[in-house]
Subunit: 456 residues, 2 copies
């Protein structure tokens, strides 16, 4: 889309001494400010209903429309709305494409997409085509690399904002460490680690839903299974890569200014053999269960390395098929010290005792981020330890002000594209692949404006 | 050397149903048993004198010859020998090639090499040429990939044993975890991690030696510096790779039977920018110190991935240029649980509480390895927490029995070759490179015989 790209650059850039500058404040065309925003929610499964409940708590949000294909989940959503005392929105259902009617709802300021992964990119693209200027999507952004390019180019063409609701960027310890990074406590940053190390066997398989809408244990996935096992497991069946990179990479990407003066240059992924999902099926369903014959493609542990153009390395681990305690495995290391979340430990030269870890607690308290200091009361009851408050808050506040969302379409594409790139790397025999630049060079001019203050 | 190779295979293999089998017990020609072994030690620096002191404690060892080029270190060695009450061995010195005279000493059963890295391969090769059948070398084996091949082929041609003194293979927790692996506690092994995360700034730089032979702090390396700073730092100046992989990889390689039914297939290394050594020079010597202008090539953190043919992945980290607490960063993970040394934690499904780490202490005690149970008294006072006892013990016992050393020339070459391979990977833009098979296919037939019992 060369014409579109040129138009975009012309509209958003400032000619300065012959240099094209795109600063975050004018990333896309400014939109009118609002005191109240009208939102639509596509997908009111367990994840979507969390966003719905938080949105209903806000005086500055009107839920104008919701959409789902599952009657049970819609009934739960309506019940949540009833209890809130807010007016019942338009409800769309009846087909996989009912969301198109939602997108045609008049005067929607924004839409939140919380559907299975493979629906994110098509729904975002249609929302943008429908003229919606703020689109929030649950992780991840798309399936193929082309999906990611399509969404970026469509956002630019429509001068619209696409925000991926990567909540871990707002985890309290993560934001405190970002604060420490910005104050130079770790010196110049060298190496970062993160990941998704989470035993998902009970999420990938169940025996359907019980009458109270919870899941019952079992060895089923796909049609016979409920909730995420209904669709998510299919990705483990067909794909080998880091299927869920953004919880690990988003927080650390922000610490080294990715797409804001820095960028990912190359990536390689290595994967182990595939054992855990089969073992779990046999454990839950026995050797003779039909699913015991299924051959899954996802390596049990996928480890990815990324090199950044400013000389940092990032290590990501995806580890979801076997028993283990939950850990996102963060490590943030610079020339003056490091943080590791697995041991809740920090070392800062000249402050910590020589060669001894400090408990991170005192540090995280001291460097608590202004966002948490201001909004901790509002985070109470919000999902995932309060992090979910911030993603919705950031999305809503950006709409109200007519400004950029705190995380933008380039973040979403860059973090989420790790999945297809890791698949390509593994498929080629763990070869190193080039990382695309979704900003088309604008990363050199943009500044980091994420979580700078206490507003959103 | 096709002829040599054929001879070797003919000598060591057993024709069995048309299949060439090399079992560990006849890896090389059997040698006569002895009740006392005559050892030479090349290099009596701080490392060599540790081996010397331990050897002097043994009734089954006669130190027949020592060699060094540094009078101060030789004087210390002679003092240690004097105090032991054992007879003074022949002492060789006066040139960098004085070790050739040591190698010509009559009836040497074995030689221990504890010299700067670049001397290891040439000294091993000359020891083998001199007819010595047991050669122990400190880590690492050689500098170039060719060095590693040369040593392997020379050991085969001479039917001699080359053992790298990789002491971490005997660390008490490492051996307990090996014990757990072999008893299936972690299930089928999937992923392993290790490394060398050790702030070496005070080792890589000093201001020379004080009168009592210790080092004084400073910003010098090379000619003006003492001990390891005299030679080791030069590798950080000229090379970018994992310069010291064997402490991390040796222990985990043994857990997944590398060269014993499994092998490394491919490797990639990523490195960060280079900051720490320059920063240290400025801190110690000021901005105007001549060494502040030196450009070091070693990336501060080098992270390496290896894929094994049986489907495991291994992650290694080399991190020696910046402040941080010491950690070899072990992680051993299978289908049933994992151990991580950084947090001293173990998780085993069905035993540990759901989603909660156990302190490793109870597990490590329960699975304490027979070697430590039998020899813990003898390890008292031995360097590196007692590990140093076991490498010398293993070397000496193998000579006495005329059998294989517990770690062999293929282990040494495979583990140590990670350095030149990681350099090649980084130099090629973090590309993945093939891992050579130093066993030339014999890994398919060999069995793991490391630390099977309580003898050595």
């Amino acid at each position: 889309m060369p014409t579109t790209r040129r138009d975009f650059v012309k509209n958003v850039s400032v000619a300065s001494a012959g240099l094209l500058m795109t600063t975050p404040s004018n990333l896309f065309a400014a939109l009118p400010a609002k005191s109240k925003v009208r939102l639509g929610i596509i997908g009111t499964g367990f994840r979507g209903e969390g966003h719905l409940a938080l949105a209903l708590r806000r005086a500055d949000v009107e839920i104008a429309a919701i959409c789902d294909v599952d009657d049970r989940m819609l009934a739960r959503a309506k019940n949540i709305i009833d209890k809130s005392g807010k007016p019942m929105p338009k409800v769309f259902t009846g087909s996989n494409y009912a969301y198109r009617d939602l997108l045609a709802t008049k005067d929607l300021d924004g839409v939140i997409i919380a559907t299975p992964w493979e629906w994110h990119a098509p729904m975002i693209l249609e929302a943008l085509s429908a003229g919606i200027k703020y689109v929030a999507t649950e992780v991840i952004l798309g399936i193929t690399l082309q999906d990611h390019w399509d969404v970026v180019k469509a956002a630019e063409a429509n001068k619209a904002h696409v925000m991926m609701l990567e909540n871990v960027c707002y985890r309290r310890d993560v934001l405190a460490v970002l604060n420490m990074v910005r104050q130079g406590m770790f010196g110049e940053i060298l190496h970062l680690q993160g990941g998704y190390q989470h035993d998902l066997r009970g999420v990938k398989f169940n025996g359907g839903a019980s009458p109270d809408n919870g899941t019952v244990p079992g060895a089923e996935f796909g049609d016979k299974a409920f909730s995420e096992a209904h669709w998510r497991t299919n990705h483990s069946l067909h794909r080998n890569g880091d299927l869920y990179p953004t919880h690990g990479v988003g927080p650390v990407a922000m610490m080294v200014d990715i797409n804001r003066g820095n960028r990912f240059m190359s990536l390689s992924s290595f994967s182990t053999k595939t054992r855990g999902l089969h073992n779990y099926i046999v454990k839950e369903g026995g050797e003779s269960h039909p699913n015991a014959k299924v051959r899954f493609k996802l390596g049990d542990i996928v480890t990815t390395q990324i090199h950044c153009t400013n000389g940092e390395t990032i290590l990501l681990q995806h580890d979801t098929n076997n028993p283990r305690p939950y850990s996102l495995g963060f490590r943030v290391q610079g020339t003056n010290g490091l943080w590791m979340d697995v041991a809740n430990s920090i070392y800062v030269e000249g402050v910590s005792k020589d060669d001894e870890w400090d408990s991170a607690d005192q540090w995280l308290k001291k460097y608590d981020h202004p966002l948490w200091q201001r909004w901790s009361k509002e985070t109470e009851g919000a999902g995932h330890g309060g992090m979910d408050f911030f993603v919705l808050h950031g999305f809503v506040e950006a709409i109200k002000r007519g400004t950029n969302t705190p995380m933008n379409v380039y973040d979403a594409a860059t973090w989420s594209a790790i999945t297809p790139l890791s698949e390509a790397s593994i498929e080629a025999g763990f070869q190193t692949v080039e990382f695309p630049d979704f900003t088309s060079g604008q990363w050199m001019y943009r500044k980091n404006d994420f979580a700078l203050g206490d507003e959103f």
